[in-house]
Subunit: 409 residues, 2 copies
């Protein structure tokens, strides 16, 4: 094991993140969208850092920066460099910077790391086009060409944006890594939740990227005068919606690794003196295991329908979105945990409630993620924060992980 | 008792209501606001009907049409002739038409009714100015002169509108009926609720015009990512609001003569994938007895605060509006019930959940109301409907009531 100064690594990471955060389409807030001049500038900076670390840099047909070293089946490391609108500076860039600093540290120390490819993706957030994870999909050979027709808010298509970025959509297939050449994909990312903070631990090992079901419910009762309709003659859609929202909460609280959120709830007409005749509400339910998620959804739908029936409400339940669970590789998890222990910290095992490029990379090879504590669990917000200490420890753990990594034949 | 043909009375009422409904500011929907040209035309038509029935007509300083007969303490009968925007044709005008037809029927039959004054008010709905019941308030000597400064949607003040209507605000005080000269106030009105329909009875006797408390609650928790915050670390303002809404429903269901409505509930930010950090919601609670209403509000506030505390939410409860109960006179109720029985129907006793001019008239004399079944409980809507049969029975009952009425000395 090479000697490591995690405090110094944290300081270097922070300086690089600051430099990236200065690249924004808006001087007052951080906005760096896919295939924009800001994406170009950030890509150029990352390419320069990769070269300085000793990697051979190329850029694929979707603008993903790729830095390679060594031969044979390779360890893939990376994250994304584009951001949401009004972003923080850690979500995405930290994973790219951590990988660069880990490789740089190993090579400078004269270590002999395994074959490695760094990946700096450009379309994880889906902030410009209504696409998801398209740049990692291309690397995994799972790019959906229908996405080329998607348009951004200004009416520019994905294909047109690629052209303006100097890319040829016909070359997307060449971004794919052949199956036998990808040994594993490992990503460092801020947690975006409060679990590590609540356990007072800087680092976590992700067990799975949770699957997700999103429903929209329409409840219809009967609007009426808030004064003149007795309680026993009411068909109050909001009272039914309230009961259903609490059912969702109860199911999630009683299940293991489940979260359920009613984020949208709109009563009509929404006036103080009118019994709501109609409510539109959402359910977002996520679980680390697909069977647990499906069972919870069945239970929820059954109870929601029973509540509607008892209250003489009509109910329509619409499936809006569904995403299967991505399990993280058990062996990689154990090796990440051992690497965290090598920094003197306790690894916390936790699921990722947000999606990441690992969802696509899992189609190519085993995946794993190292989570870094972030303040208050806040992300997608300028207040997003990870400490220099925690980032330094994450990079140190990643170095320890790479040192022990051996690509399975 | 004079002979009565209630079917014929119903037909006459319907024809008069049609004639009034044709007077609208909008050719496509019924809109007849206070102190407008439509109010003028409706007032002129009502005055003509009053005269044809044998009454001596005057108009007070707020445009209320007043038709008198006889000497001494008088029975006051009436309702309002202005409407909400996009109104039905029964809410208000039915009470005026019923009173005119009752008097007309009695005088044509050669009966000797007691002294009577018919009142056709013009500001019950508060649809033009944010005033309430101002025309009956003037008759009861309770007009609040601050209302003269209120402005309508076009910026015209109440005082200016009076001037344009040819009225002098200095003469409002002269609209008051001296206390000893008002024996009782009785109003016929559609129920605006489903109780009579659910009991298959055409007519009801109002026990009280309910008191009302309106609250706005602000709940503050913590917004968060729907995927990354575990259930036990959430401070979900919407889940708390749902529990509070169900508490309101439970209290009202368990109490006697209580109704509670959460009509407005707004989660922020209201996105499907974000835990609501804040909710603004309303409570409208009404009861036929003030003590029951106050007790229910205390109970609600206590339980809402307990829920907020358990869920680590901040809660603010703001009192928006409070109106005391107006009790209907027990003797008048009994005499209205007897009059309904004289038509061969069973009187249903019920509270009025909506406010009426009786709230103001009760400051002057004992009040009572006769409710007429309306289809589906619908009002303030073009679909508002009372059948010819039910209206005919209501007028017949009013005739029977007047026949037996003797002003207490």
């Amino acid at each position: 094991m090479i000697p490591l100064d995690s405090a110094a690594l944290g300081r270097r990471a922070e300086a690089m993140l600051e430099e990236l955060a200065a690249i924004s389409a808006d001087p007052d807030r951080l906005v760096r969208l896919f295939l924009t001049p800001e994406h170009r500038r950030a890509g150029d900076l990352v390419a320069q850092w990769m070269r300085e670390a000793g990697l051979e840099v190329s850029e694929d047909a979707l603008g993903t920066l790729r830095g390679r070293m060594g031969q044979g089946p390779r360890l893939l490391l990376g994250s994304h460099i584009e951001t949401v609108i009004d972003a923080g500076k850690y979500d995405g860039p930290l994973g790219v910077v951590a990988a660069i600093l880990a490789v740089d540290t190993l090579l400078r120390a004269g270590a002999k790391p395994p074959a490695i490819e760094l990946l700096a993706f450009g379309d994880e957030e889906g902030s410009r086009f209504p696409s998801t994870l398209s740049t990692s999909a291309a690397v995994a050979g799972a790019f959906d060409r229908k996405q080329l027709e998607l348009k951004d808010a200004a009416g520019v298509s994905y294909a047109e944006a690629l052209g303006a970025y100097g890319k040829n959509p016909d070359e997307i297939a060449r971004a794919e890594i052949p199956r036998g050449e990808a040994a594993a994909y490992v990503e460092v990312h801020i947690e975006q939740g409060p679990v590590l903070e609540s356990k007072s631990q800087p680092l976590g090992v992700v067990t799975a990227i949770v699957g997700q079901t999103r429903l929209v419910l329409n409840l219809t009762g009967e609007a009426g005068h808030a004064g003149t309709v007795p309680m026993n003659l009411r068909r109050d859609a909001l009272a039914g919606a309230a009961e259903i929202a609490l059912v969702a909460e109860k199911i999630a609280r009683e299940g293991a690794g489940l979260v359920a959120t009613v984020g949208m709830l709109e009563p009509y007409p929404g006036a103080m003196n009118i019994i709501p005749g109609r409510v539109r509400m959402s359910l977002d339910l996520r679980a680390a295991a697909d069977e647990a998620r499906r069972a919870a959804i069945r239970q929820f739908e059954e109870q929601a329908r029973a509540i509607a029936k008892r209250r003489h409400l009509e109910i329509e339940i619409e499936l809006i979105h569904e995403l299967a669970t991505t399990s993280c590789d058990a062996g990689l998890q154990d090796r990440l945990a051992a690497a965290i222990e090598a920094t003197g910290r306790k690894p916390v095992r936790l699921a990722s409630g947000a999606a990441h490029d690992g969802v696509m990379m899992a189609k190519l090879c085993p995946v794993a993620m190292l989570f870094v504590r972030c303040k208050g669990g806040v992300s997608h917000n300028p207040a997003e924060y990870a400490s220099l200490e925690d980032m330094g420890l994450a990079i140190a753990a990643l170095v320890r992980f790479i040192e022990k990594f051996e690509a399975r034949p």
